[in-house]
Subunit: 164 residues, 2 copies
Amino acid sequence: MTVTDELLANNETYASTFSGPLPLPPSKQIAVVACMDARINVYAVLGLGDGESHVIRNAGGVITEDEIRSLAISQRLLGTKEIVLIHHTDCGMLTFTDDAFKQSIEEDTGIRPPWAAESFADADADVAQSIRRIRSSPFIPIKDSIRGFVFDVATGRLNEVVVD
Amino acid sequence: MTVTDELLANNETYASTFSGPLPLPPSKQIAVVACMDARINVYAVLGLGDGESHVIRNAGGVITEDEIRSLAISQRLLGTKEIVLIHHTDCGMLTFTDDAFKQSIEEDTGIRPPWAAESFADADADVAQSIRRIRSSPFIPIKDSIRGFVFDVATGRLNEVVVD
């Protein structure tokens, strides 16, 4: 039995007490962009209920073209107005460099990825530059509340990064 | 008070009972790629605990370059071996076309996005082509267990999409 099979069995239990469909637009009109890290249960960390927030996640919680795409759809088609960014302590993205990672892939496959790996050396600084990436995008219409945090995996607390 | 402020207050409560750091690599060696939709609480839907799985999310739960980046980091640096894809019924991505969405942005901003919006007309079919995008990537080393599902927002159930 694979882990996937185990999770599907869990889903049977979940569905057995499921209470019907909620509306499509997030009721709290907010979108969260967080790292994919296994220790950040965004719902628990933020006290979010079902149907309340879009949740966008990737390696690092960084802002690339695909997060701009998701945020543009979130704001323009589904009515969200606030954005929360979450990086975290002890992040995998702090443990390598783009050059070394891409070199190892090239050695393994013979092909060098044409994309940036988006590693970073300082989580706070990368939250700040991620916020600036959103601010500088012409495709995100609502920029009044874009706030960024570093989640401390030792304490469970979100520490805000203040960006000029 | 913004919604963000409200979620930060929730985080204080969360942190007050938080029980220390878990290891960085996902203990169940699995990565989930799901739509950002507010109604899919991936932890509840799959019965996932803290520290068990990477969670990657975007508009549609689609596979673009950024998801290949995240999955490559997940497998190559953090030891995951299985991949689960989750699209869902009543998805916002079914409600527009790339052409119309990008045209509306161009009319609003004077700039046409240089990226695909990744809208789709059939969730099952898009799960299948998303799996094929992963299979065709040279940068994802482990492809033995890549399975895709459509989450039914009315029942809470994951329905598998079988891909040749």
